[in-house]
């Protein structure tokens, strides 16, 4: 799967829960990445910066996942999560000839985060809530 497909992945959810619980669920999902995630949250928005490197200080930040919260129907909270910015890496031959696919930096952590976010949101409202994974549109 190429970078263009990877960055189209996201989560859309509608859950009956208060905003603090939803923000808490986002934070718990980010915690599954341990030191590889940095979270900034307020009542309307959660931003998760994924740090794929070994050192938090020197690691590049990619991707940045933005989660926006808005009021939904019947007291639900509507949530949209997706990639806001990202970096790519590509292997080269002789240092300059592109010789492999472009890859999303932090891809593995990004998908682990999405999987955790899906489960955490579903745990908030398993029966009436809806949590959907946004898949890339096939060409």
């Amino acid at each position: 799967m190429g970078v263009k497909q990877d960055v189209q992945h996201g989560v859309t959810a509608d859950v009956r829960a208060d905003r603090d619980s939803v923000v808490g669920a986002c934070q718990r999902a980010a915690e599954t990445l341990g030191k590889h995630a940095r979270v900034q949250a307020n009542a309307a928005r959660v931003t998760v910066q994924i740090l794929p490197g070994m050192s938090q200080t020197f690691s590049s930040v990619s991707p940045v996942v933005g989660i926006s919260l808005s009021p939904g129907r019947d007291g639900h909270v509507h949530l949209e999560a997706g990639v806001e910015s990202h970096r790519t890496v590509q292997s080269t031959v002789f240092g300059f000839i592109p010789a492999g696919p472009k890859r999303l930096v932090g891809r593995q952590y990004f998908f682990r985060f999405l999987n955790a976010l899906e489960a955490e949101l579903a745990a908030l409202d398993p029966v009436s809530g809806s949590v959907q994974r946004r898949q890339p549109q096939s060409v």
């Binding site: 799967m1 472009k102 955490e120």
Partner: protein, 143 residues
């Protein structure tokens, strides 16, 4: 001289020809790797697991609790094998497998049974299972 010429021709083949065909070298290699990577991502996704300090009977009870939130769902647990099967009607069947670890915690895998389950229902049930495990052990985490 000949070697230089061969190298130049190879470089031309690697860089220019794919460009003429409207593709980069990267995209060609990407095409070759595409299938395997997509499959492994999907496999990781459907086999999520959770770590809990709960003993096996409590985990199986949590599975029954989780199934109880879905109308018409039925959970069949097997304490000896450490497994549970949750029948979600038309939506399919979910398999739960509990394995103990050396640190005394249990790993709870929640995935589709061999007969399959609708993806959305699997996500919902997984959430329900996580909530049921957390109700008994707040320290339950993804693992």
């Amino acid at each position: 001289m000949k070697a230089t010429l061969v190298i130049l021709l190879l470089l031309a083949a690697v860089i220019i020809i794919p460009r003429l065909a409207g593709a980069s070298v990267g995209s060609l290699v990407e095409f070759l790797f595409d299938k395997g990577r997509a499959e492994s991502a999907q496999r990781r996704r459907i086999n999520a697991s959770y770590m809990t300090a709960l003993p096996l009977p409590e985990v199986l009870a949590a599975a029954s609790d989780a199934a109880g939130r879905f109308p018409g769902a039925q959970a069949v647990t097997d304490g000896n094998a450490g497994t549970a099967t949750v029948f979600l009607g038309q939506a399919g069947t979910v398999a739960i497998d509990v394995s103990s670890r050396q640190d005394g915690r249990n790993r709870v895998r929640v995935g589709p049974a061999a007969t399959g389950v609708e993806e959305e229902m699997l996500t919902r049930f997984r959430g329900s299972m996580l909530a049921a495990l957390r109700a008994r052990d707040p320290g339950t985490r993804h693992g």
